[in-house]
């Protein structure tokens, strides 16, 4: 390993520890909020927002997505699109059911 690489990694060490502490704090917050017994839509929103922020931190810093090549972004955008389809398409059937639209 050359000296430049050594320095490059050691510069990021502080960032890793900050993210680690942030992840622990966000876990404590999400558990704490669950004891407040918020109304369902608010509870789901808060829990998923916190989980998304945590996942974002892990992906951006631990998985180095913040400084990744375009080809990885392209793969992930495509994955995100298909993930959304996978999540929404089957659940549209219950939407039709609840809204009384034909097709169920």
């Amino acid at each position: 390993m050359d000296a430049a690489q050594h320095e490059d990694v050691s510069k990021h060490m502080g960032q890793y520890y900050v993210v680690f502490v942030a992840l622990l704090c966000l876990t404590a917050i999400t558990v704490g909020v669950s004891y407040l017994h918020l109304a369902r839509p608010a509870a789901i929103t808060v829990a998923l927002v916190i989980a998304t922020v945590k996942a974002g931190l892990v992906a951006a810093v631990f998985m180095h997505l913040i400084s990744e090549r375009k080809v990885i972004y392209a793969v992930l955008i495509l994955t995100a699109v298909f993930f959304a389809v996978l999540l929404l398409l089957p659940n549209l059937t219950t939407f039709e059911h609840h809204s009384g639209l034909p097709g169920t």
């Binding site: 390993m1 050594h6 876990t27 558990v31 992906a59 998985m63 990885i72 993930f83 659940n91 219950t94």
Partner: protein, 203 residues
């Protein structure tokens, strides 16, 4: 027979700009998103179709053990940073430090499984098997598949800690890339748990 060399294992591929191994692991993780995505989709579909969740009444947080799951969340987050430190140690040229952090990562993975074992065995004692109802079917399927991923991570990481280190003497950069790829997988397993924990235990 001459030795076949797989191209671009260390140097970036001219088209993608990254080594083939890293590109491969990202494509694998994309397929993993679809695997867990299918389960999350099924979970939402099953749950929205039920008049009450869990079907027997109460709240998920009352039926499942939130303190143990919170502990396991902290364990996995800690194992993620030890994995990063293992990779960073390789980058900084220290094999002993890599060994230390990788051993810590594997140990934490075992802690996660032991905690999960206590959770599962308590559920089984109460007769709450996957066949009990939809709630437990979803709970065991999703946490079980995630647990299998933890086992997979332990196997890969143990290889890198044990016989895999032989590559360090031959080609440090190649070995470091392998650790990075194993790390990408490990962080993904952490990432899945970050969503599983609130969706199954807290909501």
């Amino acid at each position: 027979m001459s030795e076949t060399v797989i191209p671009y294992m260390v140097k970036p591929h001219p088209v993608t700009g990254i080594p083939n191994g890293k590109f491969g692991i990202w494509l694998f993780l994309a397929s993993e998103v679809m695997l867990f995505g299918a389960l999350f989709s099924s979970y939402v579909l099953i749950r929205t179709g039920m008049p009450h969740w869990p079907p027997e009444g109460g709240l998920s947080s009352e039926v499942l053990n939130v303190p143990l799951a919170t502990l396991n969340t902290a364990v996995l987050i800690t194992s993620s940073i030890t994995m990063v430190l293992a990779w960073a140690s390789c980058k900084m040229g220290s094999l002993p430090r890599f060994r230390l952090w990788m051993a810590a990562t594997i140990a934490l993975a075992f802690v996660f499984l032991v905690v999960k074992y206590f959770e599962y065995s308590h559920k089984f004692q109460l007769g709450h098997t996957p066949a009990h109802d939809n709630f437990y079917a979803v709970y065991f399927t999703m946490t079980g598949l995630h647990g299998l991923h933890i086992v997979g991570g332990i196997i890969v990481n143990s290889y890198l800690l044990g016989p895999g280190t032989r590559l360090w003497a031959k080609d440090r950069e190649h070995f470091t890339n392998r650790v990075e790829n194993a790390g990408l997988y490990w962080h993904f397993v952490d990432l899945v748990w970050i969503f599983l924990f609130p969706s199954l235990y807290l909501l």
